[in-house]
Amino acid sequence: MIECRALCARHGSFRLTDVSFTVPTGAYGVVIGPAGSGKTTLLETIAGIVPATAGQLFLHTRDATQLAPESRGLGLVYQHGYLFAHLSVAENIAYGAASPEAAEEAARRFGADALTGRPVRALSGGERQLVALARAFARRPSFILLDEPFSALDPRRRMIVRREVRALHRAWGLTTLQVTHDFTEAGLLGDVAILLDSGRALQSGSPEDVFRRPASRYIAEFLGAENVLAGNVRVLDDVAPDWLEGESAEIAHGYRAIEFTSGPLTLYTVGDFPVGDGYAVIRAEEIVLSPEAPVGSARNRFRGTVSELATLGALARVTVDVNGVPLVASLTTRSAKELALATGMPVTASFKAMAVHLC
């Protein structure tokens, strides 16, 4: 377990403030946030490189706040590897290795064994990352901290190495914390996602939760939510939620039917959001487009015209203008072709009440 309790640290003029989150033992945590948000400083504070000025850090059940880095039982891999240029590749991997066998195994698993004959200075950025990963894993740490460790790898190698890291994480029961800019990677790898900005942890939870239920408009926009609408919340206390088909369990748990008005649009959702101003977030992939009004159970349906159609490989982003409000939908390029979507074409954009998240 890695547990930060109101952890504070200072690195130059940058401050990490009251950072709290927990990555359970054996879980894979991902730290996401804009550049300069303090992701690397957070890892360095957990590693003990940057001293904590306040708060507590627990590694498993031990208070590690004041422990020296070498006593924390963790490995740290920086984005640039920081290989020791005065040593050979093999010596780098063996540096601090639990045993010669552990070094050999780590080198083999990350494909760094093929690089042992080459001088460190001659390695490419991606190769350096492989050696740095092998060096950290060869120590057989209990915790591993990874600062964008796959960023210099080509897509194929990235997939292989990512899989290997995940496999070792599972096999050795490692508690892992990885910084990434790649939201797909965060979703693929993470059991826990921590969103950091300006040295503060704005939100933490399962990646599903963080991505689908961002705590603020800023987080929603940072995480790439395409539809963030400002508006007003009204609780429909007296309305029988007959339109909340399949969502009655949420109501039973104290959620209420809510009407959200944003300009000419009125959306319906469920939640426990207080009455007043707020933001509605609808992810593009939740919006279904159809030439006619769909027959399904979606409560929110809006008639509009396609104002923009952008194809991004296998996916298409379609912007539908609904009375001057743009709604962005994401669908496969194939679906877009089947629907014969084109600019100016009238369509119905629909989404379920549960697809609307208020913040």
Binding site: A68, E70, R72, G75, Y78, A85, H86, A136
Partner: protein, 273 residues
């Protein structure tokens, strides 16, 4: 197209003039720096080398210069390395003041440095008295030469070593720490080897500066004579003709650290992560 030609022609002329002016100024400066030393070596080099065989005082002065400069450099490296490391790595109140203090010996006239050292280490001073009591006479001995060399040349080592440490990202040490090293071990196994070239180059610069020192030494220890003092002594006592071979040998001696520096810099590479 004709428009483009008419536009570009007037803008190129001042650039050409500036380039010619820059080349001329650089060439003149280069000649000014190289010619006197070249002429000195050409005029007196051969005689100086021949004189080495017959002139025991010159041989003695040269070996005294080399030994005292080496001792001063060793002392400078020993005390300056931790200081340079702290200045490169730690952020503390008063760091700027400390840096300025360390640069001060480079800025004051060297005879003034000699006078300052005389005040501190002379027999009249408290420290000088204590040292004399312990059997250590500084003024007028090789110890005085070492003190003078250390005072004027150590700041060069500290400055260079600080730069060498600063070029090695502290993240190398961070990684070494997570791989089980204590701070000392990480320094010895990672930082020191990675900054080695810069440290050696700084030590060579310090040694060369110590060898060429005159002003502070002449105040503290005129006798026994180091090479620079001997060269001055022969010039004032016997004139240019006698001083020339000694001066030429000193100039040739400077080629040793120069060659060492060139070799080090040639092999130097950026410490990339």
């Amino acid at each position: 197209m004709p428009t483009a030609t008419t536009q570009s022609t007037p803008s190129r002329a001042p650039q050409r003039i500036a380039a010619v002016f820059a080349a001329l100024a650089s060439s003149l400066l280069l000649l000014f720096l190289a010619v006197p030393i070249g002429k000195l070596v050409v005029s007196g080099g051969a005689a100086g080398i021949r004189q080495l065989a017959s002139d025991a005082e010159l041989r003695g002065a040269l070996s005294l210069t080399a030994v005292t400069a080496t001792v001063a450099t060793l002392l400078g490296v020993l005390g300056g390395t931790p200081l340079a490391y702290v200045l490169a790595r730690r952020d503390f109140r008063g760091r700027a003041v400390l840096s300025a203090l360390l640069d001060l010996p480079l800025l004051i006239p060297h005879p003034v440095a000699g006078i300052a050292l005389l005040l501190l280490l002379g027999r009249e001073s408290a420290l000088g008295g204590v040292l004399l009591g312990a059997g250590l006479r500084v003024v007028g001995t090789p110890l005085g030469i070492v003190a003078a060399m250390l005072f004027v040349a150590a700041p060069l080592f500290i400055s260079g070593a600080r730069e060498a440490f600063a070029r090695v990202s502290p993240r190398y040490e961070a990684v070494a720490r997570t791989l089980g090293d204590s701070p000392w071990r990480a320094f010895a196994r990672v930082t020191l080897p990675l900054s080695r070239r810069g440290l050696i180059a700084s030590a060579v610069v310090m040694w060369a500066r110590a060898v060429s020192e005159f002003g502070a030494i002449v105040v503290l220890t005129y006798n026994p004579k180091v090479a620079s003092v001997l060269s001055y002594d022969r010039f004032t006592s016997f004139g240019l003709r006698e001083a020339l071979p000694v001066a030429a040998v000193l100039a040739l001696l400077a080629l040793i650290p120069l060659t060492a520096l060139r070799t080090l810099r040639g092999a130097d590479e950026e410490v990339a992560p």
